[in-house]
């Protein structure tokens, strides 16, 4: 039972890992993007739209385009969301919280709207949005996973998007600590005026970090629909996972390598109520608040300890205007 639990926890954690890695990159540039939940919806639905048109138009469904088309659509969709956010907050210097919340409203709206009306708009004769064929390609696990017992189940049974999430997190972590670009990016988030004086193009860093961050976060939505949900889109099915991803950023102290473990812990907390015996429906609801309570405790703990490193980027949430003193 423990193996199954851990495996489910990892699968729950992967969308959160994508979301939090994306948000960490964004926040490192000083942009607090509260639009991540909306971006993840858009990433998911764009993948679904891509798969929908490919499945309904192609005569023979081949594995490679069946994976690449949704993947590309998802990346483009979340890139556009990132561009909207960057244009408003960086170029037009709008308030980040308001822009982010508006983006979440917009993105969830897009997800649920197209999820609910795609069939009608496309005048298709499909009964429901179920991308089983595409999903099967996405969910292809390593071929020898089944033969290796518990080891195979725990470490090798996932799809390529799950491994990609972990690899991306490790790369990003390395990028922050060991490259000049990573150092510059952190400088922009800590003190944009100083970074600017040192010759770093603040706006360009903010744009790139936000857009790349959005694309990574969008993949979380894609993983959820295509892998976790077996290719079935259901409105609001993605739920509050986007906010949980933002919580994970705090929990991981703005470090992607921590959020790999954090995502498994959060995933475990998210489904723990299924594995505790003899509790009623009502108590299950109390169990579901665990990830949020843990995040609050971490937030309190790091601020009381007041160690500067773990409080997040110093200029988080502020627009930068060179001529402002």
């Amino acid at each position: 039972m423990w193996i199954a639990f851990l495996q489910r926890a990892v699968m729950q954690g992967i969308p959160l890992l994508y979301g939090s890695t994306g948000e960490i990159i964004t926040e490192r540039s000083g942009n607090l993007n509260l639009g991540i939940p909306g971006i993840m919806y858009v990433g998911g639905i764009c993948g679904v739209i891509g798969a929908f048109f490919y499945e309904s138009s192609a005569a023979v469904i081949r594995p490679l385009p069946a994976i690449l088309i949704p993947l590309l659509c998802s990346l483009v969709g979340s890139l556009l969301m990132g561009l909207i956010y960057s244009f408003l907050t960086v170029t037009l210097r709008a308030n980040q919280n308001v822009t982010g919340l508006a983006l979440t409203t917009f993105g969830t709206g897009i997800g649920n709207f197209f999820g609910g009306s795609l069939i009608k708009i496309a005048k298709s004769d499909m009964p429901s949005i179920t991308m089983t064929t595409t999903s099967n390609y996405f969910r292809t696990a390593l071929p020898f996973a089944g033969k290796l017992g518990w080891f195979g189940q725990l470490f090798l049974s996932y799809s390529f998007l799950a491994y990609a999430a972990v690899i991306i997190a490790i790369i990003v972590s390395y990028f922050f600590r060991h490259t000049w670009t990573g150092l510059h990016l952190r400088a922009v988030g800590e003190n944009p005026a100083t970074a600017d004086a040192a010759g770093i193009n603040v706006n360009r860093y903010k744009y790139r970090a936000t857009c790349i961050g959005s694309m990574i976060a969008g993949l979380g939505g894609l993983y959820y629909v295509m892998d976790y949900a077996n290719g079935v889109w259901s409105n609001d099915g993605f739920g509050d996972r986007g906010w949980l991803a933002i919580a994970l950023v705090i929990f991981a102290l703005w470090r992607p390598n921590f959020s790999i473990f954090g995502s498994i812990i959060f995933g475990g907390l998210f489904i723990a109520y299924n594995y505790v015996s003899n509790i009623g429906m009502s108590t299950q609801e109390l169990f579901k608040m665990a990830p949020y309570v843990v995040t609050v405790l971490v937030l309190i703990f790091v601020s009381v300890r007041n160690k500067k490193d773990s409080l997040g980027p110093a200029a988080l949430g502020q627009s930068y205007f060179r001529e402002e003193r």
Binding site: A94, K120, F321
Partner: protein, 366 residues
Amino acid sequence: MHKSHVREPRVHLVKRDGLPWWKAWLIRIVAVVLALIVCGIITLLVTGKNPISVYATMVDGCFGTARRTWNLFQNLAILLCISLAVTPAFRMRFWNTGAEGQVLMGCLATAACMILLGGRLSQGALFAVMIVTSIVTSAIWAVIPAIFRAKWNTNETLFTLMMNYIAIQIVSYFTYVWSVPKGSGQIGLINSATQAGWMPSIGGHDYLINIIIVAVLTVVIYIYLRNTKHGYEISVVGESQSTARYIGISVPKVIIRTLLLSGAICGIAGLLIVSGTDHTLTRSMVGGRGFTAIMVSWMAKFNPMSMVLTSFIIVFLQKGASEISTIYGLNSSFSDILTGIIIFFIIGCEFFINYRIRINAKGEKE
């Protein structure tokens, strides 16, 4: 022939010192018109109907019948009330993203009183208990992050955000505990036979009392922020915490006091939702209005009077778009897309109010 490598940028931004109010409003109106055009185009693409008839449908959805008009004003009142709640905190740059949870705790407190005390107290005493508990519960929920912010500078945006989901799960828990029938997870109408704890209707109109309460509250908050010592202290803390300390204002005290007020108003909103409108309790009954309120308040530049207008725009769009979705058989989330677009435009236009763009004619030619 040494050429200087210093390039002058083509575009130069200058902060404006203050635009005449009519010019600022002109810019905002242009932004809303542009947004409506974009929304019209999108609606056209999706429904294939001409935009003017689409907007006519929206107006009809809002004002078509007396019932719809009452419904519109009822929604306006609730959204305005939550926006009023978040405003004092925003004026001191305390980013309270937790109104959703604070209102929900008010709903929970009201519903608890109605369920546990309904029929045991007289209607008047029940109302007194409901008002006090909802206000106190929400105020406590709001003041927890404020205390940590005031004492240890804990990030309030993220803290209040997390408190929303804790509140949602607590309410979820109680919807199972009090569910009718047991275990269904749904409460249904509370006290539907006795109507204990239901806001009375005035002159046959169910929602009139909600609207009156919020109207009074709007004026009170307007005066509080503009003409009282507290309001002044809030503005100073928002402008600069060092200035505030210098002139002898205790910043932690102002933060905690203001969040108690914010929470208290959220409690009133919760009371109006449960006792004045829905007479039930569900985990999703605030329905994202805690977040929408942030945008309403911000678009109005934190001015309670302008908020009447901005919350009207949002409510109009939502009601109108849901009418469009019903008529054309689309998903009701269409309104969220339109709301998003309008807000993007309104947020974006503030830039042209605050900054002037100077284009350097010479550029890099030499």
